[in-house]
């Protein structure tokens, strides 16, 4: 059986209720925020622009790592992006590269057109992309590798339904809206 980014098999997840999946998801979300914060602090401890809300599951079959048998319905990944613009359009990937190296993570460099990237794979289910773009913006994106779920639509609806988050345009590293609790009321119902 193929294990997901948390080391679970599909059979393990089948035994979980939606409530349990929700709690596990929250744990993943908060871990993603910690990874993001630590990486952000390596290059800039001021305000970072948000790339939009980051609390909903994405299509695990379309994730940054393969999970054999994964589909849109039975898997998901998480991702979050923050962006800052170094003064003078500096394009310095070295501090982030050093940090990734210190963590013992696998690093890949790539250049796409004029953009330079460093891409880290943590080895425990997470990947981090830091790009120095030609336009002077430096986005930092954390991706999880795919996780199994019993129903990605149900999980997304469970999170979205309870969310009262207002995602900021900008925030300092480590600042993000509280993730909802399972016992929170459903405040966002499907329109159809």
């Amino acid at each position: 059986m193929h294990t997901d980014a948390a080391g679970l098999t599909q059979d393990d997840v089948v035994k979980m209720s939606l409530h349990q999946e929700f709690d596990v998801y929250r744990h993943h979300y908060e871990h993603m925020q910690r990874l993001l914060k630590e990486a952000q602090l390596q290059v800039h401890d001021g305000e970072w622009e948000w790339g939009g809300g980051d609390d909903l599951p994405m299509n695990g079959a379309d994730g940054v790592a393969a999970l054999t048998g994964s589909t849109f319905k039975n898997s998901y990944y998480l991702t979050s992006t923050r962006l800052w613009s170094p003064p003078g359009r500096q394009r310095d990937l070295q501090p982030m590269t050093d940090y990734f190296t210190e963590q013992g993570w696998t690093i890949q460099h790539r250049t796409i057109a004029e953009d330079q990237e460093v891409w880290a794979t943590t080895g425990d289910g997470w990947q981090i992309q830091y790009t120095a773009q030609e336009n002077g913006n430096n986005p930092l994106t954390v991706y999880s590798e795919p996780f199994w779920t019993n129903d990605s639509n149900a999980l997304s609806t469970a999170v979205y339904g309870r969310s009262t988050a207002t995602f900021p345009d900008q925030s300092r590293p480590g600042v993000y809206p509280d993730f909802p609790e399972w016992d929170d009321p459903i405040v966002n119902k499907p329109k159809i």
């Binding site: 622009e49 948000w50 790339g51 939009g52 809300g53 980051d54 609390d55 909903l56 994405m58 299509n59 079959a61 379309d62 994730g63 940054v64 393969a66 999970l67 054999t68 048998g69 994964s70 589909t71 849109f72 319905k73 991702t79 992006t81 962006l83 890949q108 460099h109 790539r110 250049t111 796409i112 057109a113 953009d115 990237e117 891409w119 990947q127 992309q129 790009t131 773009q133 336009n135 913006n137 986005p139 994106t141 991706y143 639509n153 997304s156 609806t157 979205y160 995602f167 345009d169 966002n188 499907p190 329109k191 159809i192």
Partner: protein, 604 residues
Amino acid sequence: MGIEFDDAAASRLADCAAEVALSLRASAQPRRNNAEAALHDFDGAYSRLFEAARVTESQDRTRLATALESLVEQVRTAQRQADTERERLADVAAWRQREADRDLVRAGGGLPLQPVLDWSSSVFDPEPSGRPQRPSPVSAVFSARSRQRTGGRSGGRSGADPARLRKFAAVARVQDSSTEQDLVRMRNAWAVFRNRCSWVPVDGATLPGGFGDYLNENADDATWGDRIADAFSAAGGVSLAIATLDIAVASTFSPGLQRLLDPSLTPAEVAAAWAALGFSDADVRALPLTTQLQIANLDGIPAAQRDIASRAVLSAAVEDPERVYRLMGLRDTDGAVSLDEFREQVVALRDGVNRADQLATRVKDPSEDVAQLVGFGVSNGALVAAVVIGDLDTASNVTVNVPGAKTNVGGMGENVTAASALLKAAWRGRPDESFAVVSWIGYRTPEPVEVFSQKRAINGGANLASFLDGIHDSRGSAPRSVTVLGHSYGSTTAAQALTQTRYRIDSFVSYGSAGFTDTTTPAHLNVDQVYATEGSADRWANVGQFGRTDPREFEDVDTFSAEASDDGKKVTGHDMFPDSGVGYLSPNATSQHTIAKIIATGKP
């Protein structure tokens, strides 16, 4: 010998008519009060229609009561005349008896007494009149006037309190129910009178029928009230265009709406017809489902309003799939999706749209945090739909992604998730710009064996060209950029479309293409720049290109890599988003990164 006149039947008719007339007059004021209560907060042309109907009802009620009272008088007169005639006939009969008796005396007394007897009878017992009493004819005449219930060519809008209208309809029905019993009694009494009082001629007998017509008009008033109340409720209690109300109450299409729904219109003409109608969101909500289905699929109507119509149709399809399956004509279409497939795809599309709604709320400014369902209908027997992450009416940068073979609306969830990731990636390239990404499944995509044929691309290309032109025509201002993405056979279809569009497209990105035909080479396309990529591990694109040309072979096509960049991820197969491996739109794929950059900046 008597006359055919049943006094009891006549009395019953007269009594009944008198009671009904009295009842009609007595209920006039409550009826007026009920109607006037509904007029509170009722404005516009429909308010004037309602008031005119109220006045007509009131006048007809009075005319009916007057006709009934006249009938009473006529029947009473007939009764008196019948009495007189009966008396006359009795007198004649009695005289004849006496005359017979005298004849016997004459016979016994002989001829000498005869002159004396004759003189005596003529003086003391003259023969009564032999001229029968002629009854006055009875005339029972009444006709109800019809009431206008649609605004026709009158423009403008109307607003009303749906609760008041519903109350009017309910109370009016109660009031009319007792009058309906009066009508039955009247008809019976009249029929018996006609049967048993044939001595009385009848000049006119339109009253029973006219009475029924009057009640039918009242019933139509109540139904009218309910229908427009439903329309106002569906609209959220705000004002509606007269054309919308005309459809709601009578399925009557105003000339403007007839124009809009003319299937020969171009998207520009649709946009003009739509603007002339002046329909609001509320109007679209209040339209009947059949009209919403048409509006949903009209290119040239603003996305926000197509979204309202499309969601209404999708909701109905989820709730009552058999009804919408029939409504879309799928039951009678050869090769159409089966009802079971329809059910399955509709639910999956619903889930996809809900997922899009969720993801859209996480979109970053200045892109709008909305999702739009811009079309839900049928093409060549397949269900088709398009879902936007962002606002298609206002986004500076619009991207339309066209999928290839074996795609149907059931896969919308995956498409919108990829669209959301693409939008975020594009935002990284231009954080100050707004984006909208459309997952367009607007044609019957081919089965694998059909990929070698151009048939599906031709049909789909026409649909896509109309959709793309409609984006421009429906907006007040053109997008800063429009990018069309075509995957596999979707790129073949998109190329077909781009030979037909009136508006020039900024960028056309072909990925994993099934190839372009000789008539859809880049030179034929109404596009500034064509880009193409194909992964070396993509084994299927090449197969699909049989009989067509790989777009990368054209000199004026700008190619980009779908391979690993340095140690980056390369596409591992043919899919847009594979079950495993890396697809063209996977977020860590070089191709996705480049496509996002083209969307954001127009350059790889």
